[in-house]
């Protein structure tokens, strides 16, 4: 069963996604999705350029803040968090200071 979720990118991260801040998507397939499997899916399906600015190894690049339903992902289990339908996942790049 497809899992519908909302993704948001800000802080400069949206520039890697054709300047689109909000994305409503459906994760295909019937398997369980967690953040660890979500990231490569984003990289392969939504990312327009420069994957090294979004991901490093199997996690996000250091400096990118991830919020799951408006809470720090560190409180939700980071990569192990299981994605639920209608979750909102936000990626904020903190690399552009100022």
């Amino acid at each position: 069963m497809a899992v519908p979720i909302t993704l948001e990118f800000s802080g400069g991260a949206e520039l890697l996604f054709a300047n689109q801040k909000k994305h409503s998507i459906e994760l295909p397939g019937s398997q369980k999705w967690d953040v660890k499997s979500l990231l490569p899916w984003i990289r392969d399906n939504l990312l327009q350029e420069r994957p090294e600015l979004f991901m490093q190894g199997d996690t996000v690049r250091p400096g990118i803040l991830v919020l799951v339903n408006d809470a720090d992902w560190e409180l939700m289990g980071e990569l192990e968090y299981e994605i639920q339908p209608n979750d909102k996942i936000v990626f904020i790049s903190t690399l552009h200071g100022g």
Binding site: G11, L65, N69, D72, E74, I92, T94, H96, G97, G98
Partner: protein, 454 residues
């Protein structure tokens, strides 16, 4: 009380990872993890962040009540948070000083159309007006020519900035001539690291120029702890170790007439972003020439990449670096009257014979006298560099601090530098020549024909 499903999932994972309650109130569900491993709920986090801001200003007493300060706003997340802190303080009646905001338009360096440039500036104007502060607009290229023209005594120095009084009247203080001058200069600087350092120093000069023109004695900037830790390491790598303590302290007094204040230096970038998120603070993403610079060819990018990476797994990295640099001091400003013509920091080149600087200079001279490079330098001498150029370059070098010497190293034509820099280096050397002429009969010549202090 039945909590909604998501909060249940929250609690489950929070229990799992041991972060059940907010460390402050021990009651509400935490939403953000900061410091080393402290989980805060929304209310407690906001109290924490605001407290950091207010106590930084309060304890250091860098701003006195009723003072009118200039606040630098770039549109980025840190300065957006800074403006929000100030606005909230004003709303609560706790802001004891008045604020004028200045925005530096750096779009001359990026190839955007005039229309796009206008739109970006318009966004800035709207946000600052929402915050309820008056706005001054200026551009990076303004600092290329801040010198009074010689014409007559009543002539004015070129205007540094414009007030924005109404939304309609916005037009970026774009100056194509100066913009071209700046681009030409940047193209002549050999390395990306030199370009980024030059832009940083020029930005500072613009802030100082606007402050001086309008009579401000304090400029407030949004340097976060993360930015400062990158700054410290980068300064050391670029030969500006003597300026580390100035670049990171909360009240930077090196310029004498204007003090630079850094009230959010105790908050790291993640805390600033979390604050912005919780308070719905918008930041503007403005294209910048630094976006194209990759970590493989820029000292600052490499350092930032390193520190961000380390901070991710060792969250005490940033506080440690900043705390260590706090312990660095500097000499009394009064005992260092000579300032670098480019960055206005006290000159650090008047050191004894047994110093690292002298050792480096000796090595450079030896390399020049060496056979292989002699033919190169001879070729350079005969073709591009005239005697005049070399004298100008030597004069310029003597008027710069060590770090700025490195920045402009390899710049063939020093007259491309901003006019105030060229002027300062010339006047410094003129007065030395005058002095030398006065005492010339008493000077001893070396056997080699070198005169002292040449």
């Amino acid at each position: 009380m039945v909590l909604p499903y998501r909060t249940e999932v929250f609690r489950f994972y929070a229990i799992l990872t041991g972060k059940l309650q907010c460390v402050k109130c021990r009651r509400d569900v935490p939403v953000v993890v900061t410091r080393v491993n402290d989980a805060f709920c929304q209310d407690c986090f906001l109290v924490y962040a605001v407290h950091k801001f207010r106590s930084a200003i309060g304890k250091s007493k860098v701003i006195v009540p009723k003072e009118h300060v200039l606040v630098a706003y770039s549109g980025g997340p840190a300065s957006s948070a800074l403006l929000h802190f100030l606005q909230e303080g004003k709303k609560e009646g706790k802001l004891r000083f008045t604020v004028t905001v200045v925005h530096i338009d750096e779009l001359a360096l990026v190839s955007v159309s005039d229309k796009e440039r206008q739109e970006k500036v318009q966004e800035v104007v709207e946000i600052v007006q929402q915050r309820g502060f008056p706005l001054l607009l200026t551009s990076l290229e303004c600092a290329m020519d801040m010198v009074k023209p010689e014409a007559g005594e009543s002539s004015q120095a070129p205007e540094m900035c414009k007030e924005v009084t109404s939304e309609k009247e916005v037009d970026a203080l774009a100056n194509p001539d100066k913009g071209d001058k700046l681009k030409k200069l940047l193209d002549s600087l050999p390395s990306i690291s030199a370009k980024e350092e030059f832009i940083r120093v020029l930005r500072n000069q613009v802030l100082l120029g606007v402050a001086r023109e309008r009579g401000f004695t304090k400029v407030v900037v949004g340097d976060t702890a993360t930015a400062l830790s990158v700054r410290i390491m980068t300064d050391m790598a670029k030969g500006k170790g003597s300026q580390v303590s100035f670049d990171t302290t909360i009240g930077d007094k090196r310029y004498g007439d204007v003090m630079v204040v850094r009230p959010i230096r105790d908050l790291n970038m993640k805390e600033v972003e979390a604050y912005n998120r919780l308070q719905n603070v918008e930041s503007i993403s403005i294209p910048h020439i630094a976006d194209q610079w990759h970590k493989s060819n820029s000292i600052e990018q490499l350092t930032a990449h390193f520190i961000h990476g380390l901070q991710e797994n060792f969250p005490s990295t940033v506080p440690n670096i900043v705390r260590t640099s706090d312990k660095l001091g500097h000499q009394d400003i009064e005992s260092l009257p000579e300032k670098c013509s480019l960055c206005e920091s006290p000159l650090d080149t008047d050191v004894g014979e047994a110093s690292a600087l002298r050792a480096v200079e000796v090595c450079e001279r030896l390399l020049q006298k060496d056979g292989a490079s002699r033919s190169q330098s001879q070729a350079a001498q005969s073709s591009d560099c005239t005697q005049h150029d070399r004298v100008a370059a030597d004069n310029m070098k003597a008027s710069l601090c060590y770090g700025c010497r490195l920045t402009v190293k390899g710049l063939r034509d020093v007259s491309l530098l901003p006019t105030h820099v060229v002027q300062k280096s010339q006047s410094r050397c003129l007065s030395r020549d005058e002095m030398r002429a006065q005492i010339s009969e008493f000077l001893l010549d070396d056997e080699n024909g070198d005169t002292p202090n040449s």
